[in-house]
């Protein structure tokens, strides 16, 4: 991939994974890695930020004798995700307009 992924975009991706259901750190990393190559450690600051901005909350569930920390999207998080989606589609069409040589030129 020739493009850098900006941190808001990572936030948006993480939120949309959480939107599909509560999940834990390792699974979120794997979900992301299915589509884009992010390093294994990239996600921690993202999740921490989302949590601190109250876009997601966490709870612990026992799993095989240890704790697994689950992340769940909050209402504020869903609102933010809708905002990111709107922004993204605007941004994408703006870039595509340029890449395809202007909106009136076919």
């Amino acid at each position: 991939m020739a493009f850098k992924i900006e941190s808001n975009l990572l936030d948006a991706c993480a939120l949309s994974i959480l939107k599909r259901g509560d999940t834990y750190g390792y699974e979120i990393t794997q979900e992301m890695q299915k589509a884009i190559s992010v390093s294994e450690s990239t996600l921690y600051p993202v999740l921490r930020r989302l949590q601190k901005e109250e876009l997601c909350r966490t709870y612990d569930m026992p799993f095989q004798g240890r704790n697994r920390r689950y992340y769940a999207i909050t209402e504020k998080g869903e609102e933010k995700l809708r905002f990111y989606k709107r922004e993204w589609s605007e941004y994408r069409s703006a870039i595509e307009t340029i890449l395809n040589g202007g909106s009136n030129n076919e």
């Binding site: 991939m1 750190g25 390792y26 884009i36 992010v38 390093s39 450690s41």
Partner: protein, 222 residues
């Protein structure tokens, strides 16, 4: 590097963060190890390799923490952000500057220059004081000499009076000059601080958070 070494390196790198932040990070990576090991196809060493240098991960976490408290500060304003929080935000920004090797050299040079300036100013003051002492000595010597030789006495009193004039003139000019100089330095430093504030933050983002993407493999050519 094994799991234990990785975690303790991470802890060490994060020791300046509040305990809550540090513990959250350690818990996350402990859980990460548990998960991957449970999946059963990788060893601790392989996981460490994938995760990368704990120093870099810690830098990312610190940069994110700094950005967060600065943002909070702006949002909440004066009402809720405690003084401690603000001070620590400044501290993190400073750490960010000092992380760059070039800035360390620059800061050292600036510091040494400032010391030099202070020494030079102090030396000039001492010289002026010496002129003052010399002037008084001349006058006293002249008065004593008057008894043996009027001409010698008058000459020394004359020297003394000239020196007193020099002492007063140069001394006054020097005091005014010093005041102006330090006011100038203070103003310049203030301007720079304001101007650099946003730059520093941007650089921290760039160094801390985005650096990872380069090394982590997001930004590679196909």
């Amino acid at each position: 590097m094994n799991r234990k070494e990785f975690i303790s390196a991470l802890e060490r790198e994060l020791r300046k963060l509040p305990a809550e932040e540090r513990e959250a990070a350690v818990e996350y990576f402990e859980e990460y190890f548990d998960e991957v090991l449970a999946a059963g196809n990788r060893t601790e060493e392989e996981i460490c390799k994938e995760l990368g240098n704990p120093k870099r991960i810690a830098a990312e976490i610190k940069a994110d923490y700094a950005a967060r408290i600065l943002e909070d500060d702006e949002k909440i304003g004066e009402t809720r952000a405690s003084r401690g929080q603000r001070v620590s935000a400044v501290w993190w920004v400073l750490l960010g500057i000092c992380a760059a090797p070039v800035s360390i050299v620059l800061a050292t040079v600036l510091f040494v220059l400032l010391i030099c300036l202070i020494v030079v100013v102090a030396a000039i003051y001492i010289a002026i004081a010496a002129v003052g002492v010399g002037a008084i000595a001349c006058v006293v010597f002249g008065l004593v000499a008057l008894f043996s030789s009027i001409s010698t006495g008058l000459m020394f009193i004359g020297f003394g009076v000239v020196l007193i004039a020099i002492f007063l003139g140069v001394g006054a000019a020097m005091i005014m000059g010093t005041k102006k100089l330090f006011r100038f330095i203070k103003r310049k430093a203030g301007e720079r601080r304001e101007k650099n504030k946003s730059k520093k933050l941007e650089r921290m983002y760039a160094e801390g958070r985005y650096e990872n993407f380069k090394k982590g493999g997001v930004d590679y050519e196909e």
